[in-house]
């Protein structure tokens, strides 16, 4: 930052630890928090902008471990530019771009391309996820080391969309990433048990005549993988956990000291399979929407730490791939711009979690899982670390808005919350000290 770069004093906001305090951003860093912030701001040189955060929550910038930016390959659904605009509007200062692009992000070249696109866009840090296997085909390992050593510095590897179902391949991947402190993020879906699966398997799928996606297909893979992680002493991350049984297995594994982390999506914290009765493909997603009991188990899992993080699984799709018969519609929902409101609605407004907890599940823990050192620098009790990069999200929890996908920054419109009332709105976002969102609207991208 040049010495004349503006400094920002965020005044009167409530911090995650519950205190009301000023926050000073200077030279891209969190220069001061508390009474010292104002005195230092007034003493310092250069332009000073004030951000009035009275009545708002000041959060560490959010970190998403699970984002589909669709570029390269499906720029009609999303680009790095539009996806990171959506991320910024959702309060995210870092996203992990899943590897199932075309071509697949299974080489140093592709991950560097995505990383570069993210830097050029400037709305949010973009960390490419590397594919575990070549072409997501589940047959042989991709060059994980080359991706780790690339400028993209990949640490999270996933065949998301596909399960690494071959147990030998999964074991080798878990072992191999230890060389660079990486983590394998598993899309837990036993492929044979879910051939042609259209929705959660249960009485409702039988009534609707849609092929079932049984909970056991997720739980069996998670059970196998936690045992493999224990056996080889590696880190495992489980993507989009969707069933109560999975929560139980992960709880069991953590009690035994197995290094497993897990994520749940916003939609699995709020929506249930009952929505499938409409046959509206906007509700088609993988893993599918489950039962009310699963939703409650996931919320409790996040509250007690069994589930570590909320990952959006933001999955933009073009209108034509959703405006068709359920059985041929694409699976996935947008989520970046509604994640924090859904978390507030499902976890905070229900009394399951305070804002320190939200900072934990949406910032510090995902940053730790991905080994990011420039994000999520906040203590468990919600105290900001001064001197850390200024990735900050200011959030107004008191407004209520009706979700209108047409107003979203993402290129796609497949939001399952369309027409629903959700609380809260991101008002300001600082990415490494640069204001990418100001006063509820996109400002300017950060330049490198």
């Amino acid at each position: 930052m040049s010495p004349t770069a503006p400094r920002y004093l965020i005044t009167g906001g409530t911090l995650p630890d519950g205190t009301t305090s000023d926050v000073l951003i200077e030279d891209g860093l969190l220069a001061a928090v508390g009474p010292e912030a104002r005195s230092r701001a007034e003493a310092g040189d250069g332009p000073l902008e004030t951000v009035d955060a009275a009545g708002r929550i000041v959060l560490p910038g959010l970190v998403d471990l699970h984002t589909h930016l669709r570029e390269p390959g499906r720029e009609d659904a999303e680009t790095v530019e539009t996806g990171t605009r959506a991320a910024a509007m959702g309060g995210f200062t870092s996203v992990h771009a899943m590897a199932n692009s075309t071509p697949v992000a299974d080489s140093a070249g592709v991950v560097e391309q995505v990383w570069q696109l993210g830097r050029e866009a400037g709305w949010c840090d973009v960390h490419p996820v590397g594919a575990v296997t070549v072409g997501l085909a589940g047959e042989r390992l991709a060059e994980l080391g080359a991706m780790a050593a690339s400028r993209a510095e990949v640490r999270v590897f996933s065949d998301d969309g596909m399960c690494v179902s071959d147990p030998v391949l999964m074991r080798r991947a878990l072992e191999y990433v230890k060389a660079f402190d990486g983590v394998v993020a598993q899309h837990a879906q036993e492929p044979r048990l879910t051939e042609g699966a259209q929705m959660n398997e249960g009485e409702l799928s039988s009534v609707l005549g849609l092929s079932g996606w049984p909970a056991v297909a997720e739980e069996a893979i998670i059970a196998r993988d936690v045992l493999l992680a224990q056996h080889v002493g590696s880190r495992l991350h489980v993507c989009h956990v969707s069933t109560a049984g999975s929560v139980e297995i992960i709880r069991w594994a953590k009690e035994r000291g197995i290094e497993v982390t897990a994520e749940a999506t916003p939609h699995h914290l709020l929506l249930t399979e009952e929505l499938v009765r409409t046959y509206d493909p906007v509700f088609k997603v993988n893993p599918p929407l489950r039962r009310e009991a699963d939703v409650m188990a996931l919320r409790e899992g996040l509250a007690d730490g069994t589930i570590d993080t909320v990952g959006t699984d933001h999955a933009p799709h073009t209108a034509e791939t959703k405006e068709c018969e359920w059985t041929v519609a694409a699976m996935g929902m947008t989520g970046l711009e509604t994640a924090l409101p859904v978390v507030q609605h499902a976890l905070v407004d229900t009394g399951l979690m305070d804002w320190a907890g939200v900072s934990r599940i949406l910032s510090s823990t995902p940053a730790r899982i991905a080994r990011l050192t420039d994000q999520g620098r906040i203590s468990a009790s919600g105290v900001f670390e001064t001197g850390a990069p200024a990735n900050v999200t200011v959030y107004d929890p008191h407004v209520t808005r009706t979700v209108d996908p047409a107003t979203h920054a993402t290129r796609s419109r497949n939001s399952p919350y369309r027409g629903m009332e959700l609380p809260g709105q991101v008002t300001d976002v600082f990415n490494h000290g640069h204001p990418v969102v100001r006063d509820r609207a996109l400002a300017t991208p950060r330049t490198h």
Partner: protein
């Protein structure tokens, strides 16, 4: 009644209204001039995106007997592979002048989606969607059973339900839209339904459904049913490990000569055999059972035309009032143009 999408959401009053209207329609089919002017000037499109000659010609005959113009549109495969979306297809058909779209579709929920999409304003009649529902098949089966019961009681069928009737549905329940539609409709009408199938072909969660389930067809027949409905079984299912072989399926769940004899002795004296067709002789039904006088297959086909006339009339006549329309007498009074 704007659409007919499923029997699960069909009320008892609406079901009786369709069946009673079908009785009126069936009187027409017995006349020398099998034609009513009721839907003159209206256009019915049969949009069949999955092979089904029987159902299509039944709907076609029904629409023509009501003097509607009929357009048949058949296609195979997915909208994606055809290159045209369902939305564009149905909007094109409506622009041509469709008042009702009778749709057979490979995808479960396609009819409900069409009716709820806002893409078109036409009435939608579900002629079978994936493994979800086939409501007119269930209605024609109910019409057949109701007439059967009326004959037994020596009364007319109009206004009656199926209270106390014991019906066994046998076979591939899991993949059968006929089984689902029949289960909902027959139980709405007061019948007791038993599903008999190998455990692999019983849907998950069936214990929450309003029926008995047995893995033993012999037990189901020994319990003395009024009707045994045999579902078509695709022999390919054995390749997906639903059952080991066609021969084992037939031995355990086929209506064999032995089970026909058991039905003769243990079932109701006038117990009937039903089949939605086409039959796999030698697999789910033996030749003797197929050719038995108890088999109502042809009566079912004839009733299918009456039921489909009733449904088309009701969805296109735009009357939402309960009760049976005074259709045939008033229509018959109208001079033929």
């Amino acid at each position: 009644m704007k659409h007919l999408l499923s029997t699960q959401d069909l009320s008892l009053a609406d079901a009786l209204r369709i069946l009673d209207t079908a009785e009126e329609m069936s009187a027409v089919s017995g006349r020398e001039v099998k034609k009513l002017p009721a839907l003159r000037g209206r256009t019915v499109v049969n949009l069949f995106l999955e092979d089904s000659t029987r159902t299509r010609i039944s709907f076609e005959a029904a629409a023509k007997r009501l003097s509607a113009d009929v357009i048949n549109f058949t296609g195979k495969g997915t909208s994606v592979s055809k290159g045209e979306s369902l939305k564009d297809t149905v909007q094109t058909l409506e622009a041509i002048g469709a008042d009702a779209i009778v749709m057979r579709h490979w995808g479960s929920g396609a009819a409900a989606q069409l009716a709820g999409s806002g893409w078109i304003t036409s009435s939608v009649v579900n002629a079978g969607d994936g493994t979800h529902e086939h409501p007119t098949q269930a209605l024609l089966d109910a019409l057949t059973l109701r007439r059967h019961l009326a004959r037994r009681h020596g009364t007319g069928p109009r206004g009656t339900d199926l209270a106390g009737m014991k019906v066994v549905i046998v076979g591939d329940i899991l993949h059968s839209r006929v089984a689902r539609s029949n289960l909902w409709l027959l139980t709405t009408l007061g019948a007791e339904v038993t599903l008999a199938a190998p455990p692999t072909l019983v849907p998950v969660g069936v214990e929450q459904w309003p029926c008995h389930v047995t893995y033993s067809l012999d037990e189901a027949i020994a319990a003395g049913p009024d009707a045994v409905m045999m579902l078509r079984v695709q022999s390919e299912r054995m390749h997906e490990a639903f059952f080991p072989s066609a021969a084992e399926y037939t031995r355990s769940w086929g209506l064999t000569d032995d089970r026909l004899a058991l039905l003769e002795s243990a079932g109701a004296a006038d117990a009937v055999i039903m089949h939605p067709g086409p039959m796999n002789r030698g697999l789910e039904i033996s030749a003797a059972a197929a050719d038995s006088v108890r088999n109502t297959a042809l009566e079912q086909v004839a009733n299918g035309v009456s039921v489909r006339m009733a449904v088309l009339y009701l969805v296109l006549s735009g009357t939402d009032t309960a009760g049976t329309p005074d259709l045939v007498p008033s229509a018959a009074r109208r001079p033929e143009a």
